[in-house]
Symmetry: C2
Subunit: 364 residues, 2 copies
């Protein structure tokens, strides 16, 4: 195998496929990046739960394939000058990497036995912009559960339904739904592991360019311009989350998002990250009073707000409120309270691009 390519292009592709390479594996080949030259340069990372394939432009002088230790290859390329990189495999699998006045020769591994990505049967396919998918992941991923005993909740539900695409995560204490419109009428449902979505989020750019999402029985395929990401799906039936969303509300308020974030952050300083201590919210006289009272001391914050409905006293784990408010990306949001012991809901003032639900905690 022999080829040359641009350092930046190579580095970007390595950064992407590395997200699917195990950092510690019992078999060295699984800590490697598979590199193949054919019509273009193709690189693959695969940890079984997720596989990523990237293609980049290269000047290919000789076809072939090799596996290179991902960390070492990445570290070397990262440090190379911004210039053309020449790579060549010797018969003993040693790989020569040259760039300007730098020369490396490192041990490669035969590509035989590398676990290639499975093919995904094109059953149901939809398109969404990279920005939209990024936003949906960001607005929901914090609410997935990390309880391995309820495996299905460690992933996010992705659901296409008559022109809507939703992403849903819930962990028993809160629920997050993000939604966009899509052109396709496709109907499908699948649960993608949270850790794969975290990596996919990092690969997606703020861009209008499309991501194509294809679902088969056991896999989801995310296709970007120069890369394909295959994620396994979590098995099982996802909860019927719509049942959890209350529809009757006693009180609703409109709040300035950055103002309420700062106030809750201050109040939660006193709770010292101790989960026993909720923040108490009192809504009355067009004011919102956020207080906490712990071993350390007390704090009080006062915000002027618009109230619709009854006065209300309710307690929350401040972290849950903050997690949701921080991904709202709106200047103002509307908060709906079902009762002083029931769930509250956070929504944008207009539209239905997200719904966050949070259960309150009992206050003494």
């Amino acid at each position: 195998m022999k080829f040359s390519c641009n350092k930046q292009d190579l580095m970007e592709a390595i950064n992407i496929v590395q997200k699917a390479v195990m950092t510690k594996a019992t078999i060295p080949i699984l800590e490697g990046i598979y590199i193949e030259t054919n019509d273009s340069l193709k690189m693959v990372g695969n940890c079984y739960d997720m596989g990523i394939e990237c293609s980049i432009n290269a000047d290919i002088q000789q076809k072939g394939s090799i596996v290179l230790n991902s960390r070492m290859f990445g570290d070397i390329v990262r440090r190379l000058p911004n210039s053309e990189v020449f790579i060549q495999v010797k018969p003993n699998f040693n790989v020569i990497i040259e760039c300007d006045n730098s020369y490396f020769e490192i041990k490669g591994l035969s590509a035989e036995g590398y676990p290639m990505l499975p093919t995904v049967e094109e059953e149901q396919k939809i398109s969404v912009s990279q920005t939209s998918l990024r936003n949906m992941i960001r607005k929901t991923i914090y609410a997935i559960s990390n309880d391995e005993n309820r495996k299905i909740l460690t992933g996010s539900l992705i659901e296409a339904n008559d022109g809507d695409l939703s992403m849903v995560a819930l962990d028993g204490f809160r629920l997050a739904v993000a939604k966009v419109m899509i052109k396709e009428d496709t109907n499908f449902k699948a649960v993608i592991p949270g850790k794969n979505l975290t990596e996919i989020y990092k690969i997606l750019e703020q861009s209008d360019k499309d991501v194509k999402i294809t679902l088969s029985k056991n896999q989801a395929l995310f296709e970007l311009e120069q890369c394909r990401i295959i994620s396994k799906l979590l098995e099982g039936e996802y909860m019927n989350y719509k049942n959890f969303l209350p529809e009757q509300f006693e009180t609703n308020i409109v709040v300035d998002v950055s103002e309420i974030i700062e106030s809750i952050e201050r109040a939660s300083l006193i709770t010292n990250d101790d989960k026993r201590y909720p923040v108490k919210i009192v809504i009355e006289d067009n004011k919102m009073l956020i207080t906490s009272n712990t071993d350390v001391g007390i704090s009080k914050e006062e915000l002027l707000i618009n109230i619709n409905g009854n006065n209300m006293t309710i307690g929350f784990n401040p972290k849950y409120l903050l997690d949701s408010l921080k991904v709202a990306d709106e200047e103002k949001v509307e908060i709906f309270f079902s009762s002083s012991v029931g769930p509250c809901i956070i929504k944008p003032i207009e539209g239905d691009s997200f719904v966050f639900m949070i259960l309150p905690v009992r206050i003494k």
Copy 2:
């Protein structure tokens, strides 16, 4: 005690005195910041090895003193709006902190029993700009030893001598000297603990403003405009470092600093941070060849340089070369080799603002 002051001023002072507060102490008062209102607002942090006192402008309504938990006080003030902060101590030592619509009440500790800073007898005093002292610390601190069995080497020597102020650190493998001129003819010598210098470095600004340094028998006092830092000294006699600096050289070269840093960094990728593997430097034909050869593979880097003297083959721990070159802050430096088994010296092309000495390692 009752006063109000600007949030930013208060935050800056807390950030500074916190550097001398223990994060974990058996006595709660030692995890606290001492606050006193008299003519101005004074705050103190003290961990015995180092003490810091800061004064800031405040509107003082009632004199008094209190100790507040450093982390809690800092966290609260950091999160307050940029506005006037009102602080008041209640008879039960509870402290009220108010700012705009935020209200905190946290437990304070009686200031009785707080270890106040010692007075430093003004014996020998010199002045140097903050920028100069910063640079001297930066250029030497990496070379102090962390071997507690040779305690004296865990600090840096600060030495005033007929109008020169030097700072020196050495650890048995390398030696760093930084020097500036001062107005005073004072002669003194003291060894300041490395960890105190690390904190002092963070407090110093890039500024022409003076730091006054006063030495007494057991302490050094660093006086800035609004703060005083007292450091204990390390006991014992510092090594006569000048004896270690070779004066005869077989070869000297001039190198571009960022070029050689990048080359050594690449070569050291192959050494995998394994100290058994040095980088080998071959100097001949106006070229510098930097190579490494390990289990992982080999690397070669070639730089064009000017050579004075004999050809040379010599090995180094790449980390030691990089540590020195990275703080040189020069475009080009001159490297002097005494022999292929003797120390090398790195100096600026002009002047004597620093001298770095590094011992080579044997190559196979």
